[in-house]
Amino acid sequence: MDKFPRTVSQLRREAPVNHNNFIYPADRGTGPIGYQSKVRVIDKYKVVGFISSGTYGRVYKALGRQGQTGEFAIKKFKPDKEGEQVTYTGISQSAVREMALCSELSHPNVIKLIEIILEDKCIFMVFEYAEHDLLQIIHHHTQQPRHPIPPSTIKSIMFQLLNGCQYLHTNWVLHRDLKPANIMVTSSGEVKIGDLGLARLFYKPLHALFSGDKVVVTIWYRAPELLLGSKHYTPAIDMWAIGCIFAELLSLRPIFKGEEAKMDNKKTVPFQRNQMQKIVDIMGLPTKERWPFLSSMPDYSQLSTLQPPLSGPSHGHHHHHHYQNQQRQQTGVGGSHLEKWYYNTINQATGSATSAGNGAPSLASLGQEGYKLLSGLLEYDPEKRLTAAQALQHPFFSTGPDRISANCFEGLKMEYPHRRVSQDDNDIRTGSLPGTKRSGLPDDSLVRPNKRVKDG
């Protein structure tokens, strides 16, 4: 594995230099010699495998060559143009944001940036390595026999996730793309918010926060105000996503699994009817009484085209004898089925766990505070939705049998499978870069999305 990098660096040193305009060897960046990085990625890190790829480029797992402890994830941003003639074309705004924000941020629940190396027209962001992510953990629990994530783990994950999110929000950073694939978990059970590729500062924006990037946040986790055309990005949008993640930790399925309507030829953002319908199926139709600014949403008129929820959540798999007890709670406030969904989920989960005979602790211990937290996060009105600070103070975290641990794996007897790294492409220097698109599906995640469709 060492062989190749050495060859490359030799090649680099032997590369012909344009001597015509050679004046001062110390001129860098602007003279005829050109920009040269002071640090070489391959001199400092040894790539041990390929992790994933996305729109931005690829992520590799690496070890330090110069005595650095631990493992690293190196995110390589591809240069804009591919092919033989790669030239500088300017760094994308999202890469600039991510570089700048990650350089400032420092919190135990936000993924830590080690360094950034700008070399050979590529950007290498070196992060601490996290062995797991929530998508992977959720996926593991869907494997036969399907078994719920232990309640103590869920509580710890939620607390750490909210803690990291509160840190971001008090620092005026919106993540804008919270989803299970972007929530990392280290082998010691620390939750780390990752992928700040869409994050940005939200004080005094020079433009409406929506205008720069038309579509943000994976559609399943997209807040209703965005679906209804809001141009105002607020921390509440991240909180909705956290509510969706909470629900997914409970049920092991995305709670609102809509199909994305693609942008038409005119590049106008279409109304995401299917996604909004999925929300309405469980949450009921939003009303002006519960959400006063509802009627001023740009796509308010579209609401009338949606079907009011049926008598129960459309998720077929929830038709299960367990929720008979919950029939009385069937339609809660404003036609919402969330309460039924919640109790159904935690009781059903218990059922399958016991039938699997592994004696896993019951999700039912999450109790009604779990529902209250969930409904506070999945509140239609963004102004009423819980903030990260409020959610952290929620009785959910101070009641119940489980103490909140900073290690979400505390007390677990099993170990989650490690992140798969492939050996297909260990060449961080030249690796071919597939042009996948950030389409709203977790394309940049480890587990392929179509796999999830099967168990959904």
Partner: protein, 340 residues
Amino acid sequence: MAANYWESTQRKHWQFTKDQLATMRQKLEDEDPQLVHMFPLQQLRHLNIYFNQQINRLGKRLGVRQQAIATAQMYLKRFYTRVEIRRTNPYLVLATAVYLACKMEECPQHIRLVVSEARSLWPADFVGLDTSKLGECEFFLISEMNSQLIVHQPYRTLTMLQGEFALSPEEVALAWSVVNDTYMTDLPLLYPPHVIACTAVLLAVVLRPSGNNPAGGQGGTNTTNPQAGFAAAAAALSQARAAGNTTPLGTPLSSQGSSQPDGSQPERKAGAGAAAATPDARVGKVQRFAAWLGESGIDIEAMVDSTQELISFYECHEQYNDKLTREQINRYVKARGLDK
């Protein structure tokens, strides 16, 4: 962090003492004394005036807001604490700084537009400018700044103080232009943005802007009686110091600012005179602001020094020779082939 100056990389890595700055700059010159000797340049403040003008011209062409312009100026300042000016084509560096600052301040400009505007602004100084050069320089800039691109500016504090002290539009405009002027000094590398904002507000309320003095002009040479104004500012600062009573360093103003012996001389007597001559309302505002400064726990010594740096800068601005400054820059750029 982003919203917290105290945890920011700006405070941790880009705030220096005067001695540190002097040492860093000396080190850059010592790397190649011959180069420095061969291509003499005007003093840094004059270069800064020139760069400031050029950035403003480019910014105006692109229709960029002041916030992004200011960030670009900070990038330039930071960059030239790490890289000897004579090794660079400053036109390239400042165009790149504007391009990068616009992305960071959420008003992105297309790289091709920045290049074409820069080319038409400086046709002779930059024959070889293209997107690839600018993109390459962006790597250079970011690398030298360690990717620490979030800049805290005084403008936010300024806006806050505007409401707090019911500043008139003229006072705000003057304070704003004083802040703009600080980018031609070392102040943004020496002091936190709120110190600079408070200094600018103090100067604005004592300098008595009037209709004939359009604020926002270049170089801050728009005040009729700066000496008296600065003296009044100094008087207010000693009031603040007395009110604050928390500053252990009770150094009298007259012994401050060893670098500018004249600057401190007229402070006391003129200060009293200026205060006596102003209408009660203004005196009231100045005193109220001074009292607030005293209570706020702000670094008064830093404000005193900032005031003196500005006095000194405005004096130095009088000697600014645009033609000479430009010619010296263009000479080394051409001689060293940095325009290719």
